[in-house]
Structures are given as C-alpha cells and as structure tokens.
C-alpha cells in the first residue's frame, strides 16, 4: 500500500524561543529549524511498515516556505521514496493544511496517512483529525502501536488512564505519539541518496485550496514569570516552609 506522511518544519525543540518585543509573535529569525519530532516518528513508522513488506511506497509532504525542502530531504534520507512541497509564504493554519492534504490524498490515493500528533510550535493537535474528517476516513490518534491486520490496521492509542486499541478500515489516518518508535539517525550515504530522489513543488492554488487564516493572532506575550524561589539548606527547613509559609501541607 501507499503511505502519505506529512512533515512540518518547526523551530528545533532544543531552542528556547523568545517573544518579540512588539508582541507580534515569536522571533524565529536565525534560529535552528528541524523536522517536528512527532513527524520524524511518523516517517520512521512508515519506513518500518515498508521494511515489513506492508507498504510499497512512501510519499512525504510538507506545506510552507521554500526551505521546507530541507525537511523533505530529511524525510527522504530516513526512507521516504519521494516528496511533494506545497509551497506558499502564507501563514498556514491546521484547517488549511488539512484541506491541502485532502487534495493530495485525492490525487495520490494513499491507503494510510501518518502524521505527528501535534507540532511543537503551535501545539494545536488538529491536522490529522481534520484530514480524517474531510476525507471521511477513520482516525487512530496518539498511536503507540500500529499493526496491519486483516483488511485494516489495529492502532493502540495512548489515552488518559491507559491504552486502548481500535481497528480501522482502510484508508485511514494515524497520528503518532512519542512512544510509537525511536526514529533512526540519518546516515551520510542516505543523505546523498536523498538528494537524487524526486521532489515535486505545487502551489495551494494548483490544488484549488483557499488557505486564508480563520484565526487572527492579536498578540503574543511572555508567560507570567514565577517569582524567584529560595534554596533551603535541609529537609527540616523545607517542611517548616511548606507548613508555615506556603501552607500547602
């Protein structure tokens, strides 16, 4: 079967972001960008399914600026067969991305779409569910285990209080949780090979999708700072402070 894996270029998870002084957003000029960690897990899962013989082709997709090509090259170095960039400088919100992906799903006809459960920049956790809704596919969100079973996939999901398993008919949408797998490191020979793989570029207009944002960001501010705490020398002092000063025990 064919798998579509959407990947997002985000500020690297190790970067401590700074809010711009004018409150218009977060300063991402000159900071390190990487593939969203949940998306790496999605690519890795697709590659593992291919290694098991379940999957025949992996198509990586990214929506955004020209530099997203680097993210797609990374996906191909992990093992994706080819890539599509939906190129635009516009601000893309999850609903718009879901509509772009829907158009690509109609064109490519994958049996599975594997996404990360959320992007670590906007922390939305929406795109996979929205894509499933728009395409009428079932969804297996927050997956910690994916198994091909007779005529579908069994997805074990991380839910509050434990795990639950659902069986989905194909085609289906899956979103990855952290414990699904450990993504492999890309090797230099694979990075070189990835440069030769096909990367197609399309525009949102080619797909007939209006990407106008529906949510306006009015301002972005620093979170309230916690007032500076103190260090206590020993356990007795700590207990005393908690009882008499903070009154929480």
């Amino acid at each position: 079967m064919k798998v579509l894996v959407p990947v997002k270029r985000v500020v690297d998870y190790n970067v401590k972001v700074r809010v711009k002084a004018d409150g218009t957003g977060v300063d991402i000029a000159n900071v390190k960008m990487s593939m969203n960690p949940f998306d790496e897990i999605a690519v890795e899962e697709a590659v593992r399914l291919k290694e098991k013989g379940v999957v025949t082709e992996i198509v990586a997709v990214s929506c955004g600026v020209t530099q997203c090509q680097e993210t797609l090259r990374t996906a191909m170095a992990i093992g994706a067969d080819r890539a599509i960039l939906v190129e635009t400088d516009a601000e893309l919100q999850p609903l718009a991305v879901a509509k772009l992906l829907k158009a690509l799903v109609e064109k490519e006809q994958p049996q599975l779409v594997i996404l990360g459960k959320q992007a670590i920049d906007d922390d939305c956790n929406q795109t996979g569910q929205m894509l499933a809704a728009l395409t009428g596919m079932p969804q297996g969100t927050f997956a910690s285990k994916v198994e091909a079973v007779d005529g579908g996939v069994a997805v074990t999901r991380e839910v509050d209080g434990g795990l639950e398993t659902v069986k989905l008919g194909l085609p289906a949408v899956i979103t990855t949780d952290l414990r699904l797998n450990e993504p492999r490191y890309v090797t230099l020979p694979n990075i070189m090979k990835a440069k030769k793989k096909t990367l197609d570029v399309v525009k949102p207009a080619d797909l007939g999708v209006d990407v106008t944002p529906r949510i306006k960001t009015l301002k972005v501010t620093e979170p309230a700072k916690r007032s500076a705490g103190i260090k206590v020398p020993d356990v007795a002092t700590l207990v005393g402070k908690l009882k008499n000063e903070a009154k929480v025990i």
């Binding site: 972001v17 999850p94 609903l95 670590i120 922390d123 596919m137 839910v159 209080g161 025990i249």
Partner: protein, 309 residues
C-alpha cells in the same frame, strides 16, 4: 447564542475535566448545554444536570457511542450542533481526538487548549510548549474549542437542569473498538490532584521509583507523576507523564524529585501554586521555577521528608 459542552464521563459519573470546561463555557456567555453521549450513561447525565450553571443536558444513548469512537461521537455532536455559537471540549485525550473532527466538518477553525476567555471570540492559549502566550480571535461563526482544564476552576454543584433525550447516531462502520488496558491506581487522578509527587530519571529503576516516592505520596495523599525520561526508561507508566506531550497539571504543591526540568516538562507543571525541587545538581533548570529548592541526594532527602511529616 448558546454554548454546547461535550461531557467527558465514564458512563457512571462525570470526569472532573467536564466541570472546568463548563466554567469556560459560562465565561463565553449564553446558555450552557451539556451533551452526554454514551451507552447506559444515565447516571452521568443526571450528574451533569446537577452542575450549577447548566441550562440543559442532552443525553444521547446508543451502542454506537459506548466506547467514544471519534467517528461516531463527532457525528453525534454534528447532529445537534446547529444553533450553538460555541462547542467546547475538555482538552483531554478524548476531547482532542474529537474536537478537530467536528470543526473540520463544520468548516471552521478550532482553538486548542484555551487558558482564558477574554470575550466570546477572543481567547488566550499557550504556544511553543508554554514559552509564549497567544491572544487569538476566532473569526468563524461557530467556535470549536478545547479547554485546558487547569486554566479554569471546576463548576460547583447545585443545579437542576432538565435532561432531554436526543437520538443517537448510527455506527459509522469505519472503526471498531478492540480493547482497553487501564492503569490501576487508587491514588487521586493526576490532573485533579492537590499534591503531586513526581520523579525523574535520577530514580534509576522502577523499583526505586516506587520504593522512594510511594511513601511520600501516601503520606501526602498525593498523585504520582513522572518526567518523560522516567517514563521512557520504564520506571513509571506513560499516563503518569507530566509535560507538553503528557498531562498538564496545576496542583497546590508539586514536588519534583530528580527531575532536571527540561522545557517540555516545565510546560506541564509550571502553573502549580508551589513547586519544590529536590535535586543534587545545583545547575538543574528546575531550580529556576522552584519556590523551594533543596540541593540534596533524593535517596536521602525523600525518606527524611517522609519521616518528618
């Protein structure tokens, strides 16, 4: 204008997260209606009718809703969605699973994890793992929202809303429930606990984790939490994980033992009222958010703490 809150429940009772979501719903203005979708969930529906501020409870009872499958629950919400200006879900695993599906089917954007309602269309929500707070305005006619439960107080008891039955949707046939593995715990629920004792990689093993932290949690009547490192190493079950990708908590007292304090962990607990850090590394970032820091070996300090309580 009316607000629809989708209840999270276990059929017999309402989950605490529903009460916080009702408070957020009241802040949006208008009548608050609560949808209880499930199978034989009459007890949960009557519990919802007793929450102060609720104007009406809609109870959909059908086998298709027994296991909360996203496809069926979303269809159920859609079936009754007309006439509501706001549709609110708690930002739990269940709410996050269904809300975007409803939003996309209504062709509206969804707002995730709101922590404050500024006006009926303007909300605050954290982004970048809580390192920035965005004020956003939803321009769509219907606002589909998930509510960060720690951002709102729980609604009080004392209501007497009528319960109205609505017909349940048919099964989508696209997905089916296979099974569930629930982590057994007789401790308070992590997201609702007043005190949380949380452990990190420094505990070293699952046995040590339990041996050192359980007595302290018992003594304080606290829930146990863990950092991602501790969960990944198998010291604690994964639904104990506190952080950006785990549970978001805001207890009265959060005790972090052997947790360095990576930004992803801080995103999950920095709204706690009082934070205590026990760590032998004086440079650990957890000390920058801790109200009380104890620079000590947790294997000595935690037992000492237990005996002095």
């Amino acid at each position: 204008m009316a607000v629809l809150v989708i209840a999270e429940h276990d059929h017999g009772s309402l989950k605490g997260a529903t009460l916080n979501t009702i408070t957020a719903g009241l802040a949006c203005g208008g009548d608050v209606h609560v949808l209880v979708a499930g199978h034989n969930a009459g007890a949960a529906a009557s519990a919802a009718s007793q929450v102060a501020g609720v104007a009406k409870v809609l109870h959909a009872d059908g086998a298709s809703l027994a296991e909360g499958l996203a496809e069926n629950v979303a269809a159920q919400v859609l079936a009754i969605a007309s006439g509501y200006s706001h549709i609110l879900f708690p930002a739990t695993a269940g709410g996050k699973n269904v809300a975007p599906r409803v939003a996309a089917l209504l062709d509206v954007a969804q707002v995730t994890d709101i922590t404050k309602v500024l006006s009926p269309d303007t909300f605050e929500r954290p982004i970048y793992a809580g390192n920035a707070i965005a004020t956003v305005q939803a321009t769509d006619a219907v606002k589909v929202i998930t509510v960060r439960t720690t951002g709102f107080d729980a609604a009080a008891q004392g209501g007497s809303a009528p319960v109205e039955a609505v017909s349940a949707v048919a099964d989508s046939g696209k997905s089916s429930f296979v099974g569930r593995e629930t982590t057994k715990s007789d401790r308070p629920e992590l997201t609702a606990a007043k005190i949380i004792v949380s452990g990190g990689r420094a505990l070293g093993s699952s046995d040590k984790f339990n041996e050192v932290l359980t007595p302290l949690a018992d003594k304080l009547g606290a829930a146990l939490g863990a950092s991602r490192a501790a969960v990944d190493a198998g010291y604690a079950p994964n639904d104990w994980q506190v952080g950006q990708t785990g549970k978001i908590v805001a207890p009265q007292l959060y005790i972090a033992a052997g947790i360095s304090g990576a930004i992803q962990h801080l995103a999950g607990m920095k709204d706690s009222k009082v934070i205590v850090a026990i760590n032998k590394d004086p440079e650990a970032p957890i000390f920058s958010v801790a109200d009380y820091g104890l620079e000590a070996d947790l294997f000595a300090a935690v037992p000492e703490l237990v005996s002095s309580l």
